[in-house]
């Protein structure tokens, strides 16, 4: 079973995403911000990371840049999932090493489609 780390400061979003991902047969862990997520990744690199942008402590893009410098940090497939929906944010995410990008609001169709694009399904 593939592991997915869900990183979002909203408990509701984490819950919704987790339910969809578990239906897609991922096993999920959660983090509330980038710093927590980095700790999780240092314990065990997940196969996939669903990543919010705006979070307290450490935001998504800073987390991603830090992750890609970690040992094995090039392995996880990172899918941004954020309300930031302009070209500037998307290109910045791709340059920082994101594999796919979801613009909120999302549903199971979009999540499924994007995880397929990213080669996770």
């Amino acid at each position: 079973m593939k592991q997915c780390l869900v990183v979002d400061d909203s408990r509701v979003i984490r819950k919704v995403a987790r339910r969809i991902l578990e239906d897609m047969e991922f096993s999920c862990s959660e983090a509330e911000d980038g710093a927590q997520a980095l700790n999780e990744c240092r314990k065990a690199m997940p196969d996939a990371i669903l990543l919010d942008w705006n979070m307290p402590v450490m935001n998504g893009i800073d987390f991603l840049r830090a992750l890609r410098l970690e040992d094995g940090g090039d392995q996880p497939v990172v899918v941004f999932c954020t309300t930031e929906n302009d070209m500037g944010h998307i290109t910045e995410a791709l340059r920082a090493g994101a594999n796919e990008y979801i613009m909120k609001p999302f549903d199971s169709d979009i999540l499924g489609a994007k995880f397929t694009e990213a080669g996770l399904i």
């Binding site: 998307i90 791709l94 979801i102 613009m103 979009i110 489609a113 994007k114 397929t116 694009e117």
Partner: protein, 277 residues
Amino acid sequence: MNKANFDFLADMLLKKSGHVLAPEKGYLLDSRLGPIARKEGAASVDELITTMRSRNDERLNWAVTEAMTTNETFFFRDRTPFDLFKSEVIPHLVENRKPGVKARIWCAAASAGQEPYSLAMILREERSALRGMQMDILASDISGKVIEKAKAGIYSQFEVQRGLPVQLLVKYFQKQGDMWQIDPSLRQNINFKTFNLLESFRQLGSFDVVFCRNVLIYFDQKTKQDILNRIAERMPPDGFLFLGAAETVLGLSNAFEPIAGKRGLYRRTQIAQAKVA
């Protein structure tokens, strides 16, 4: 809906578009026709149809037909056909067409344009594999409304997130307010046209590749056969046909045969060639 109204609607739809309205598809009526009923001031879809029966207003009849035949689609739908287009069709055409001759693709049920634009993006991405070969795309649909949308090439955030890899979004789209518009240069080789598959294909010319996906399912057996045979007539002997994942030529037409191991891809048969020649 009362039976007389349902029968009237089914009959009109069959005549205008060839689409068969099965009783079990009755659940579609409210979502598809509700907005028209409200616009026409009818209290319900049933009342709308009653009005249509008494008025015989062509504009209204067509609006209803259009609403019933418009179907949702997305970029790179089902993926496999587009992979096969890249791996099988392009190399074959590059190999077998004379230099300087344009190849032609027909998207026979192009809907809001996602299929022809997906092909246009592939042609752009695979430019070096084309070795200078030009390909033109005819994108047609029975609905003038969706063809207008296709021409505009403007899609919602929801539409650009289903099937379209983000790298292609960044490369080929521009954000416009809340919407996303496709790079106008991709439209250069696409000709958009409102066209009913019940009409003669002669005026359209001939095609090396035809995408006729997820539309035959709406027609009765005889119309399916007829459409497939008329597509074959518009093709050179080595023409390719793509059908939807739930569709087949088996038992319908001898003009095409499936290509083993290539799901959804068909080629013209010797039989068709003998007949057309």
